[in-house]
Amino acid sequence: MSGKYGFGGGIELPKIESPKPRLAPDQEALKEAVEAGTTLGFVSREPTAKRKPGPKRTEAQDKVSIPGPKRVIDQFRAFCTEQNVTLWEGLDLLLQGRGR
């Protein structure tokens, strides 16, 4: 331990001598592990862009929640109202004008 109060000391790490490269994962075994994990309840929680049941829309749907300063969100809502468009249409409109 070093330093006046002993704050400078570290821990003892094992020597790492030219470590063996890790074996590449066995994709089949990994797939089985993921399936077994699913049965234990560890499932994918990634947002998906699946089509919802019901009347088919022309393209896949998704959603996003955008927390941010009220000033910006209010401006965005006001912009959509002015343009008489929905929120996603307003976003689409702004994205089309990007870089200008």
Binding site: I11, P21, L30, V34, G37, T38, L40, S44, R45
Partner: protein, 242 residues
Amino acid sequence: MFVITFANPKGGSGKTTSAMLLAEQIALSGGRVAILDLDPNANILAWARGREEAGRGVPFAVHARPQVEDTVALIDGLEAGTDYLIIDLEGSKDQIVTFALSRTDLCVIPMDGSPMEARQAAQAVRLVETTARMIRSPIAYTLLFARTNAAFLTTDERDVRQEMESNNINTLPVRIARRAPYTRIFRDSLLLAELPDLVAQEMKGKTASVIDKAQKQVASAIENARDYAQAVIDTLTKSRAA
């Protein structure tokens, strides 16, 4: 490269704090360490960003969560420049946990010793054992009592410990107590090692007893973090030798 993963499907069990304390101790001791922040809350990424914005260096690389299916490739891709990769997982039953565990050398499962967290920790243990069986490679694991009361052992913790002992579940011999310095490092994007000087500055003009109390609190936190990190490294070394 050693991969040390922190898992418990229950949020708030102490995964992020335990991961950060370990990373700092390894970095201070000369190990090349990186953190993979797989928690969508991204508290470690925010910590690193806070340090960069304040003009303080970040002593280890912090990597953001990739797409689930890219997790294994990202972990393996870090091997060249890293001795210790620490993975902070999210507190939910997400598939990404299985992907991370499949490349893990030691899984640390923090819990506070309450019956609710013990049940969630048991689920993490089951997933570790199942994943190890499926990939036909052992994955060492240990439970860690974190966010505990520094002064005494609660009856809940005693009860959980008894059950773990009777089931031969590995437990880290050092607990991480709930301490103010461990939350402060996240609040102000600090390293634990920076606190003694900072506290000394903040305490200027206070009475000797107040200064002494504040410094003792920091010193205890550092000592606890160091003992805990050494216990993790010893467990890792033993599991590799077995």
